[in-house]
């Protein structure tokens, strides 16, 4: 019932084929790229469907916003080319099923922070940055009622997203929120990129966490003491859906006096945390993920990073302890901002 807005003509007229040629995990030349993307568009099998690590990056690379990644995932499902082994897919799909009662709907008129599925990370939203901001999805028992479902892109299952997402949006809308600040940029990407791409209505305005933090920091500017730390940012896959907000990363760093280290895997060239890669169905996935992680961390180290900043809890879970082992402190972006205004972040170890 929801259909992806994909325009084959855009691909035909595309001169760069950035979607696949810039892929960091497949080595594809421009001609092959064009041929394969068209095959995919026509519903034919392509090695791309098999080899894709589902890193979302092509969504950002596409110069005309033609949703190559959403297309790939739709076709993986259509052609039964699952990116993961079946038990993992089933497990993943079952994970999002709420099982601890219905949510308590409190009406909030105006702005609110949406924790999405990360209610157990409430400790990350303390202090003056979040003062007075109502929060929805505070209760871990109810968190799956706020789960944006976009994770199923990694599972090759857009059908699950389309089936569940409208209900989730309804639940959020019941809170009567006009502006939803998304704790996770996957939620933000869902409401601002995926929903328009497949035609799902979103009755509220989604706000990117970084934009919110940037604005709050400006309000608290007088209280900022530059943190003077060298920082590497671990860009999550979902941020590819909101590349227009990516500039806030640098904006925030400037405000708080963090030095954004010069490195190879930065911005558009960011590397996946490896979380989704290691379980993939193909031969050698575990090693491939380990290799990506190793390169990523080596790059941070070489650039002299003291801190690795995360926005995505999944990246944090996958990479956090690894970067720490390499002498780089892992920290969430909001915590780094709290540090700058003289607060003691809960997650700062």
């Amino acid at each position: 019932m929801y259909e992806l807005k994909f325009n084959e003509d855009e691909c035909l007229s595309c001169t760069t084929q950035d979607c696949l040629t810039r892929c960091q995990y497949m080595d594809i030349d421009r001609d092959t790229a064009k041929a394969e993307i068209l095959k995919i568009a026509h519903g034919e099998d392509s090695f791309v469907l098999h080899d894709c690590v589902t890193c979302y990056a092509c969504e950002e690379y596409c110069p005309v916003n033609n949703h190559p990644f959403y297309l790939i995932v739709e076709k993986q499902e259509e052609l039964d080319v699952p990116p993961l082994p079946r038990p993992l897919i089933r497990r993943g799909i079952q994970t999002g099923i709420p099982f601890r009662g219905e949510p308590d709907i409190e009406e909030i008129n105006g702005q609110a922070l949406d924790m999405g599925v990360f209610s157990d990370l409430m400790y990350l939203i303390q202090g003056r940055l979040f003062e007075g901001l109502p929060v929805i999805s505070q209760d871990p028992r109810k968190m799956f009622h706020y789960f944006c479902q976009l994770m199923y892109l990694h599972y090759g299952r857009t059908s699950v997203i389309k089936e569940r997402l409208p209900g989730i949006i309804q639940t959020i809308a019941k809170h009567n929120v006009t502006e939803v600040i998304c704790f996770h940029d996957e939620c933000y990407g869902t409401y601002t990129s995926y929903c328009p791409a497949v035609g799902i209505d979103v009755p509220f305005k989604a706000v990117h966490l970084f934009e919110f933090l940037y604005n709050r920091l400006n309000e608290l500017k007088d209280d900022i003491n530059p943190i003077n730390l060298k920082v590497a940012y671990q860009r999550p896959c979902s941020s590819r859906l909101s590349s227009d907000k990516h500039h806030f990363v640098r904006g925030i760093f400037e405000l708080i006096g963090a030095e954004n280290v010069e490195r190879e895997y930065v911005d558009e060239n960011a590397l996946c945390c490896g979380g989704t890669i290691q379980g993939q169905r193909r031969e050698g996935s575990r090693k491939r993920a380990a290799d990506v992680q190793k390169r990523n961390i080596e790059d941070m180290k070489n650039a002299g990073a003291e801190v690795c900043v995360f926005n995505c809890p999944a990246c944090y879970t996958t990479l956090g302890s690894m970067v720490a082992k390499n002498g780089i402190r892992p920290v969430f972006m909001s915590d780094l901002c709290r540090l700058a205004i003289g607060e003691k972040p809960a997650g700062w170890r």
Binding site: P82, L84, P85, R86, P87, L88, R90, R91, G92, Q94, T95, I97, F99, G275, Q278, G279, R281, R282, E283, G284, S285, R286, K287, T318, S321
Partner: protein
Amino acid sequence: MDSVYQALVDIVGQEHVSNRQEELFIYSYDLGTTEPHRPDYAVIPRTTEEIQEIVKLANKEKVPVVPLGGGLSLAGLAVPFRGGIALDLKRMDSILEVNEKARYAVVECGVSQGQLTSYLERNFPHLTHSEPGAPPTATIAGNVAIHGQGDLAQPYGFNSDMVNGLEIVLPTGEVCKFGSCSIGSGWYTQHPLPDVGLFLGWSGTTGIITKVSIRLFPSKKIRGVGQFVVEDEELVPEIMYKLTHTQMTEDVIAFSQAIPPFASGLQHFTINIVADSEKELEFKHEIVWDDTLGEYIRSGAGGFLGFRSGLQRPQVSKTSDWRKGGGFEYVGAIMPVETYPECYRRGRDISERHDIPYTVLGRCIGAAHAMMFSWTYAFNRADPETIRQAREALHETDDLALELHGTIWKPGLYGQKLVMERLDPNTLNLMKKIKQMLDPNGIMNPGNWEVS
């Protein structure tokens, strides 16, 4: 004045005996579904000598003695069915010796699993013991007394197979030692003297264990757990077989449960892998995940969920709370590994029939020589109906375990009856003789293993 009470006060002191309703209430309850029975006294001794005196008194007065450690058996093994003395042994909590070179520890009967774990971590970080899945308040002695297993069951077998020696207070009050310690040669082995081991698995009906020597094993610097998932339960036995073939795993468990939903209908493996270096770890990863399980990943039949460093204690008590009810009990049985699929399917049926979210688990013992398979039934402590349901499900499961050619582990009274019905009559007769010889007045944990 109650003369038994006064005599107990004389033995252990006023503060360590109670005949007040509060203590009698608490010690009447098992944490599972077993109906409570009030003891007449709760006693917390500190020494072997005190226990001797208590047992002698109990013989004289024909008062039952029900020893308990953590009191976490869940099968009602420390419920004072015939009243008497609830003997809480947790004050006997000294770690007496750790022999680093011969890798064993001698502990008093009240030493908890957590206490030994923590002691080894702080003082002998390269040694560990086989820690059961119970809460850390469970005791070492209580666990071997019921043939428990722990997280080293895959490489080394039952915890009770790791016993190097015991000190026992017999039901008649004498103290006996078993193993090399009995000839004063230290606590390093239970063999090769003539076997008089009549205490493990008897659930405290033949004597009170006061000291245990337990084997310790190498603890590597990196200890972690990897997870693997399959959808088809039929694959579990062969995967266990293949994993044990690698000799590179420490604990292999497969589980499936209705809640949380992600685990429903799937078979999850948790596989412990340990190493002293990244190099060793990567080598083992390759053998385990890539070489041994790779075929399932490639075929799409199995998925690797990642590896986490650090062993987390399973917090089983959380299971009790799925229904916001604070209670659960399980049937554990020692089963052939090949019965896993049947155990899972039939267990699910039983759960569903009794309206309880199913929870099953199979832990590999030895090189897949057997597994401990558990069927867990949660209940709501505040709702007697759910307790009844769980009790019924447990009984059906006892029947099932035997039907599938398994042997019930730490059976409650119902399971004991089933087992004894099937026991070889000559064995049963021998058990009867042993029990009569050791406990002529039948004071030790009466109700349990009563051969009629």
